[in-house]
Amino acid sequence: MLFIDKYQPKNESELLNTEWSKVKSFLDQPIKGKFLLVLGLPGVGKSATVTALAKDFEILVLNASMSRNKQAIQSLVGAFCSQGSLFGKKKLVLVDELDAISGRSDSGGLAELKAIVESTSVPIIATANDLNHDKFSALLRKAEVVTLTPPSWGRITEFLADVCTKEGVTFTDAQLKKIAIASQGDVRAALNDLQSSVSGDSLMDIEEFDRETRGELLQSLALIFKTKDPLIAQQALDRLDEPLLNQINYPIVYSGENSVRYWLEENVIHEYDGDAVYQALKNISFTDVLQGRIRRTGYWRFLSYVRDFLGPGVALAKTEKNTKQTPYKIIFRSPKRNPQLWWITSSTKKLVAQKVARLTHTSHQYALKELSYIKPLLLQDQDYFEWEPNELKWLNK
């Protein structure tokens, strides 16, 4: 299981921030006509704080991965607020990642939210990183704001030590301190870094955790490359299925230029040694075969096998001896090739091949192959081919 799921705070004593009491008092005594806006940097624990404190509530969560236009909000929130709770619980609407409400596809969503805040008696809490945008100004007038400050690195170190103890992992303070400082208060990132440093029952010495390239995608990559637990590898992949806020935008997990597959393919050679590289690439290339089968048959069930071979398939390719353990940098290379690049060859050569193909009634592909040895006779035939200076230069090379 992923540490970030396993060590979600369950009650107020487990919260790392100090502002949670304000959230608690809003839950105890909601202010009519107002909603609570919880602001803070990514990974500081906004949603975690709310869900930990509201564990006795029946919660309706509106998050960024669902449509939040006027109609959707109306029907979801309307139904939720008008029905009595099944379990006699108090109710709460949590609008996660409010700043991700999009102007176009979620049209009317913000206005509808404002209307609901004004009319309903069910408490509403929203979370956001930053609401510095005009479109939020009307809604902001209805907000009680609490800003969560990131926990200090000392506090995070204590927390990580606690996790290590529970996991039975031995550690040094220096190792944890390094992770905590690099996280800059992002507890989620710290937990991911910790989990990807675990090797057996101890921690690896990691040279540097790079801040610039951090993002959900890279954290997932690190987990897949470092873990030997197939379930963790699977979960690391699954996390990417949902669009998450404040990360580089990698919308497509399984296909497209920025898909996880290309990232794994690009980095496996730097992460693994020897036969593990081959085993991993064998599994990655099999997912490509599966993609082809999906395309031809339209049978999407194959995607579940793609998931198995990308996550666990790469994670299990390594053995103890061919993982590059130390020093280890979580700096991944972005995939360099555009998969559609094949036809962009050296442009003059391409022109020459096109001309030969046209004037000798053959295909471009055939002409390209023949070019390797027929240059001398092409040069002799200026009249027929009417070579341009740049083409002549290429032919004479």
Partner: protein, 318 residues
Amino acid sequence: MPNIWTEKYRPQTFDEFAGQPVIIKRIKAMIEQQNMPHLIFCGPAGVGKTTLALLIAKTMFGEQWRQNFLETNASSDRGIDVIRNQIKEFARTKAVGTDLPKILLLDESDALTREAQQALRRTMESYTKTARFILSANFFAKLIDPLKSRCVVFKFKPLDFDHIDTIMDKISAKEGFTIDDKAKQLIYEVSRGDLRRVENMLQTASTITKSIEVSHIQEIASKAEPEAVKEVLELAAISKNFSDARKKLLRVMMSEGLSGLDVVPAFQKQIWGLDGVDDQKKLKMIQSCAEAEFRIVEGADEYVQLEALLANFAQSDV
């Protein structure tokens, strides 16, 4: 008048045409009766498919063949929309100076997707009054059944040594060079009955010498196989340097314009010649080539398959 021999010696009459006697006989009869259906010309490269289509057009339209004949190549003009528009525009108007239908040669039509072939089938039906299609293809099986059923199918065979020998003698007499029997035999083997390649190799050799020997042909044949691909293979299989092999492969494919289906067969050919690799291992490497080629034919992205193949070659012991 072109100097390149593949054009200079392209047959201008049915009598000059080498091989395929049965096909020639039937085509001539169709033209005489002014009743030519849609045709499929099927067979490997360089056996006369395009030449025969050109001959049909020249015989039917005489001087005006260029206006009434359109040649497009499915693998070069990649966008089906381009083909569709170009074809429709050409096919819907009447031929110039004759009541006969125009002729459209669609080269490498087996490279078209199934959807494009379906679209083509409708176009063929809509314009039968004004146009006839000749679909040339390397692989009959890649054409969809509805297309096959609308056409008369001709399967071309690779030229045998006697045909190629005759042609080489004819050209050497006209161009004033000599060629010994061993060299002829090697040209035949390397070209595998592809006459275009035979003529290109002959002409290249004749720029070096006027008395062609087997060594000249060997030199040209080795150039025809990209040397760089061999280096990629050696980096992976001998130096065990997967990282460099992978980088070089990408560069070679880009600069030479090679596809995965060019690279794998090139690997396959050169594996037996690798120095210092055990024969049993070579056999396993070739098995991996077969698997990679199958996957490329079947799969989506060839580069990842090639990477996996190289990583396999670079394994410490296969």
